[in-house]
């Protein structure tokens, strides 16, 4: 089955050129193109591509802005005319990117690497209600100059900070512009549990459970964070864990 792909670039000729280069790869199926971030956002939500080629510098919103607005990010190969060092985000992460004019050999490498990844993970994903994100889904997180693609399964904890949520994974805890309630609606309840008004924890990341006063519980996560389970939620938590 070919990989459903959308090309996103404000320049028509850049899209023409990329489409021509991708003509050599039968595994890539270009299902649409978009000329700016807003158009791309609609098309990604509607068509659910598995892969996007994304220009970083576009008028209006940048490629990074677009990714931050997506609930679930497809695989991304960035395209840019800037040198890698000109884009600080790449210093922190081995994000896949191609410099324009695109070298066909580097394009082949990037596509090969993608196929080695678990892009073709159909079958391993449990069937979820529509709109619910699985552990395998990745989200794009940007915090100032730094950015990451994070699999939901790697996230230990979401913490509410006003209109934002702080996301804990590995040694990082950047903020994303999403409310905890909105996140709760999209997360798989078998994996993520709302412990109190301020926190959602990943049940697989719990290291220790201790009784707490008032009949509540205190969870210690693998990163060392201590999270209280409210009395109201303790009963539900116990039910879930006994399953």
């Amino acid at each position: 089955m070919p990989i459903k792909t959308i090309l996103i670039d404000d320049e028509r000729l850049a899209r023409v050129e990329l489409r021509k280069l991708l003509g050599d790869f039968s595994e890539i199926e270009i299902i649409d193109e978009a000329v700016n971030a807003d158009e791309a956002l609609q098309k990604i939500e509607a068509l659910q591509p598995e892969l996007i080629f994304l220009d970083i510098q576009m008028p209006g919103k940048t490629g990074f802005d677009l990714l931050s607005e997506l609930d679930r990010s497809p695989e991304v190969i960035f395209t840019t005319a800037y040198h890698e060092y000109a884009i600080k985000a790449f210093e922190f992460n081995a994000l896949d990117y191609l410099t324009k004019p695109i070298d066909p050999r580097r394009l082949a490498d990037a596509i090969q690497k993608l196929q080695g990844n678990d892009l073709r993970r159909t079958g391993s994903t449990p069937v979820l209600a529509p709109g619910i994100l699985s552990e395998q889904d990745q989200v794009f997180v940007k915090d100032g100059e730094r950015c990451w693609f994070v699999k939901l399964g790697e996230i230990r904890l979401f913490e509410s900070v006003g209109n934002y949520a702080r996301v804990f994974f590995g040694p990082n805890k950047p903020l994303i512009l999403k409310s905890l309630n909105a996140l709760e609606e999209r997360l798989d309840t078998k994996v993520f549990f709302r412990t109190n008004r301020k926190h959602i924890v990943n049940l697989r990341m719990i290291e220790k459970v201790e009784p707490y006063f008032n009949g509540g519980l205190l969870l210690e996560l693998k990163g060392g964070e201590k999270i209280e389970v409210s009395r109201r939620q303790t009963l539900r938590f116990k039910e879930m864990m006994s399953l």
Binding site: D10, E11, L13, A14, E17, P59, G60, T99, K100, P101
Partner: protein, 345 residues
Amino acid sequence: MYWVLQLGGWGTFLAGTFFLANIFNLEYPEAIIINRTIAITLTGLLVSHLLRETLKRARLMQKKLEQSIPWLLLSLALSSFIHGFLVLACFEAFDLYLSQEAIEKLNMGQLLLAVSLEMSTIMLLWLTIYCVYHYYTDSRQRQLDQLKLEGAIKQMELKTLKAHLNPHFIFNSLNSIRALVDLDPARARRAITELSNLLRGSLYTEQAQLVPLQKEIDMIRDYLALESIRFEDRMQVDWQIAADTLSLSVPPMMLQTLVENAIKHGIGTRPQGGRITISSKKLTEKNLLVLEIVNPGALSGAILQTGFGVSSTRSRLQLLYGAAARFEIVSEPEQTVKVTVSIPL
């Protein structure tokens, strides 16, 4: 350094006088010669030190040689007179007169004049050494400053060059041209010519201080032709160039940098693009050439303060024309920005 030379110099004078007195085996008693020489040396040391302080305070050495010569002569005369007076006072106090002087029976005024004249040769020697030393060290300092200035200019040129060879623009253009090779080979060929002209222009015109406006405009046309491949119908260009301005001189790459900025901030950031207007006119009665760029967009503090185009344009105009040139960047109604450069004809 001053004290080494000052004490060394007077020490040499003292030693030299004794040496000469010994060689010629003068007829006078040795004690008188020694005491006289010591008196002349010590008063000389005092007077020349005061002279140096005065010269320093008057900043005479910083002035041009022609300007300082009358003052140097005046200070020579004054210091010789003071030196002579002090020497004579010592002679009087310690009775150091030579028999000959006593015999000639000069009155005090004549004696003072004679001694002052004698002392003036010493002071002249002192002043000459002082001036020569100063002009020598000053000229070395000037050479050093000159080198520093040249270094700073080179740095600036390099920075300008780098800013003009905008890699993002060049690689985007190459990418578009690669697509055109199949789609529109004739346009691809033209684009390669335009890019070559542009690269040649930014690599080689830096050496010229001024170029005709025509040359600058040719380059901007090439640049805009390349940008229009990228922006297609998102960019429109209006040229309003007065024919009588084409032969006038402008700093190379200045208008080009400003147009690039207008595209980058004004059109590149807007999904709907826009229209850029480039105009030139000659104001004969004010003796000015006025260049204007109008583009869509809004001014932000960051562009005004750190934008390389703005700061480099300001400093270039200042260097070339001083206060006679003007640079202005203002927000206009309906989301447009106007940049105006006025330079003397």
